[in-house]
């Protein structure tokens, strides 16, 4: 009797310990995203992608119950991101770190992932080097060189012999500029000039005028999404650049749904490169867009699909390793994982742990009186060229 009582007390005491509340068959995921501040919309789209996947799969990943702890970085703030990652690991005992919309935050949390040996899924941040910072990290979005080198090579092959590049003066912009210029020159085209524009509230008209004066066959543009594409469209209209005559090339942001709405008809003819668009014509995507609209009353974008597929990857890894939640088992299971996504077939490169996917070249066209991105070329199984070059 006494022993039984002792055991009872012991059990009760154990149930009070935080580690013991970690019930059998539950996987705990720590999500780090900029839920507040100027990137809040990005975080919402990623989060909604995650929620939709979980809803479609009965809130279970790899047969395990899922518990999610959400943490807000409030924008670009690496010290906070790192602290949140550390706290998620030490205080909340999460098994997996996920989310990461912004490169500086992902880089800061990568150290925690490496140190604590935790599986980390980057669902958006697109600077090439991120995945090299922790051996437990995989990415389900895209990389800046991946989409832009593909775009540059395609453009040159399709008759653009001269290009002018205009990028915002920050990490992803500079990455995009480097990637585009490198691939464009390598393909045989010539870059007639380039400019880096201020991050905050730039006045595009002067830049656009300079581009027009040089009269290149194409202009490559990389600017942050949000309010800037609209302003850029206005400057193009004012200075008389018609994307149907001078090819305007860019990354997905400049012609996503919101950008097109704010730019209006001047956007017609813009060519972008990206891994996803809600107009992609495949049955899985049609289903995805329908479900997404039913729950969140808007169209998904490449952020949503990053979150959706990131959750899918966790599901695959947990299924494959039989529910083991330690970093080594999970990353081993994630390497080489491949699945069908609304964006098309995709996989995780077993060597670099980065995403391999189809890159789509799309052109803005008017369909049923509405501006949409129409796929004009697609390149399956594109690896991140930056890391491929690193390995050589």
């Amino acid at each position: 009797m006494k022993r039984l009582l002792l055991a009872g007390v012991g059990l009760f005491a154990a149930s009070l310990l935080p580690a013991a509340s970690h019930a059998q068959g539950t996987v705990k995921i720590g999500l780090i995203l900029p839920y507040s501040g100027q990137f809040a919309d990005t975080a919402t789209q990623i989060d909604d992608g995650i929620k939709l996947y979980l809803k479609q799969h009965g809130n279970k990943l790899g047969g395990m119950n899922v518990e999610i702890v959400r943490k807000d970085t409030g924008g670009i703030n690496p010290p906070v991101a790192k602290r949140l990652a550390e706290e998620l690991v030490t205080r909340d005992n999460v098994d997996i770190l996920a989310g990461f919309a912004l490169t500086p935050n992902a880089l800061a949390a990568a150290e925690v992932s490496a140190q604590a040996k935790k599986f980390m899924v980057v669902m958006n941040a697109a600077t090439a080097i991120i995945t090299t910072k922790s051996p437990y990290m995989a990415r389900t979005s895209f990389t800046v060189p991946q989409v832009n080198e593909t775009l540059a090579t395609w453009a040159e092959k399709n008759g653009d012999k001269s290009a002018y590049t205009m990028v915002t003066d920050y990490g992803p912009g500079i990455d995009a500029e480097t990637a585009f210029q490198k691939a464009f020159s390598a393909a045989g085209g010539s870059v007639v000039g380039s400019v880096r524009m201020a991050v905050q509230n730039p006045d595009f008209s002067a830049y656009v005028q300079r581009a027009k004066d040089l009269n290149p066959q194409s202009i490559f543009v990389m600017i942050p999404g949000g309010s800037q594409p609209g302003a850029f469209g206005k400057a193009m209209a004012e200075r008389g650049i018609d994307p149907r005559k001078t090819e305007v090339l860019g990354q997905a942001e400049i012609a996503d749904e919101h950008a097109l709405a704010s730019m209006g008809d001047v956007a017609e003819g813009i060519i972008t490169s990206g891994n996803y668009d809600y107009n992609l014509d495949n049955p899985m995507n049609k289903e995805f867009v329908k479900d997404y609209n039913a729950d969140y009353n808007r169209n998904p974008d490449f952020f949503s699909v990053g979150g959706y597929d990131g959750t899918h990857l966790i599901d695959i890894a947990l299924t494959k390793d039989g529910g083991k939640t330690d970093g080594d088992s999970l990353i081993a299971a994630a390497k080489g994982a491949s699945w069908d996504s609304p964006r098309g077939p995709m996989s995780i490169d077993p060597e670099t742990r980065d995403v391999i996917e189809t890159v789509y070249i799309r052109k803005v066209e008017k369909v049923n009186d509405k501006l949409v991105n129409v796929t004009i070329a697609s390149f399956p199984n594109v690896k991140d060229p930056f890391k491929a070059a690193m390995q050589k």
């Binding site: 507040s36 703030n77 602290r83 706290e87 880089l107 920050y170 990490g171």
Partner: protein, 329 residues
């Protein structure tokens, strides 16, 4: 005041001010509690200590000398980048990193103090704001040095005293930050309760009249501004060293504005104001954002409005008033 009763009076006055009170001793002992009671919160505690040090540095100029600054993060950032760059290029020793950071920030502070000391009030807000923005853009454009938008990569802090490694749980980070905060707090406390500190308060109250009684306003402002800048630089270096990450936000406008909020919340012009403000603000932030990751700023807003409406002189100002009323009755 009975200052002129005898020649000893000023000395006695300062002595009575510098004596450590029981509340203070209890306060500092309480800062050790997290080690025993909340070992899961040490990383947060270390960042609170760093913010407290930063707020203390602003208090020296804002609370005591009346210099309103909306660009104090500039010095925080200069210190952080000084320590970060030093570490990136091969010297990750923490203590010397702090020294280097304080020197770098102090030099920038001294250089700008020549402009600062000529202006008061609104003009100062514009000046410090503009200066902060300039520095931020400079750091942004010097991407080859600062890493630009993506932040500085490759910071590695060596073991403290060659012995204690900065761990995942933050034991060393908190001990280190707290020790530095305490040392600089004692220094600031001594400074404020000195004739120099008293003349600073005189300058705050009447900038023009102070020179008439032999306290050169401009020279004093230059001195305190430089000291404050160096201290902010040390806070920045602490953050860079303990987190081993660094990006442009460390010298951005938002950090300056947040700091001002923290100081006003705690109570400006009281040594402990910044400390208490940092504690309350950061704990509230941690709690609110944990419960409501999307709209937690709403609750921060509620907290600020409530505190400012009920306690216009900050939390410590309110407490002091309560204490005064209690001792009278």
């Amino acid at each position: 005041m009975a200052l002129t009763r005898s020649f000893d009076a000023p000395g006695l006055y300062f002595q009575s001010r510098t004596r450590w009170r029981l509340v203070e001793i209890v306060f500092w002992l309480a800062t050790l509690l997290p080690f025993a009671l909340l070992p899961d919160y040490l990383i947060l505690a270390s960042q609170i200590a760093i913010t407290a040090l930063f707020a203390l540095s602003l208090d020296l100029i804002l609370g005591y000398a009346g210099i309103v600054s909306l660009g104090h993060a500039a010095f925080f950032g200069v210190g952080a980048y000084a320590a970060g760059l030093l570490s990136k290029y091969g010297w990750g020793e923490p203590i010397t990193g702090l020294l280097a950071a304080s020197i770098a920030a102090g030099i920038v502070g001294y250089a700008t103090s020549f402009v600062i000391c000529r202006f008061r009030h609104l003009a100062l807000i514009m000046l410090t704001l503009g200066f902060g923005l300039m520095l931020e853009e400079l750091a942004n454009s010097a991407g080859w040095l600062t890493g630009g938008f993506d932040g500085l990569q490759g910071i590695e802090t060596w073991k403290l005293f060659g012995h204690f490694e900065f761990d995942l749980y933050g034991y060393v980070a908190y001990a280190y930050s707290l020790a530095v905060l305490f040392i600089l707090f004692v220094f600031a406390r001594r400074l404020i309760h000195s004739p120099f500190g008293l003349s600073l308060r005189g300058i705050r109250e009447n900038y023009v009249r102070m020179p008439a009684i032999g306290a050169p306003s401009r020279a004093h402002i230059r001195t305190i501004y430089t000291i404050s800048a160096a201290m902010a630089g040390i806070a920045g270096a602490l953050l860079a060293q303990t987190t081993e990450t660094l990006s442009l936000d460390s010298l951005g406008f938002e950090r300056s504005a947040e700091l001002l909020v923290i100081l006003v919340l705690g109570g400006a012009g009281r040594l402990y104001g910044g400390l208490v403000g940092a504690m309350i603000y950061m704990i509230a932030r941690d709690r609110f954002s944990g419960v409501e990751p999307q709209y937690w700023y709403f609750w921060i807003g509620v907290l600020l409005v409530t505190v400012v409406m009920i306690l216009p002189n900050g939390i410590l100002g309110g407490l002091a008033k309560l204490a005064a009323r209690w001792s009278r009755s």
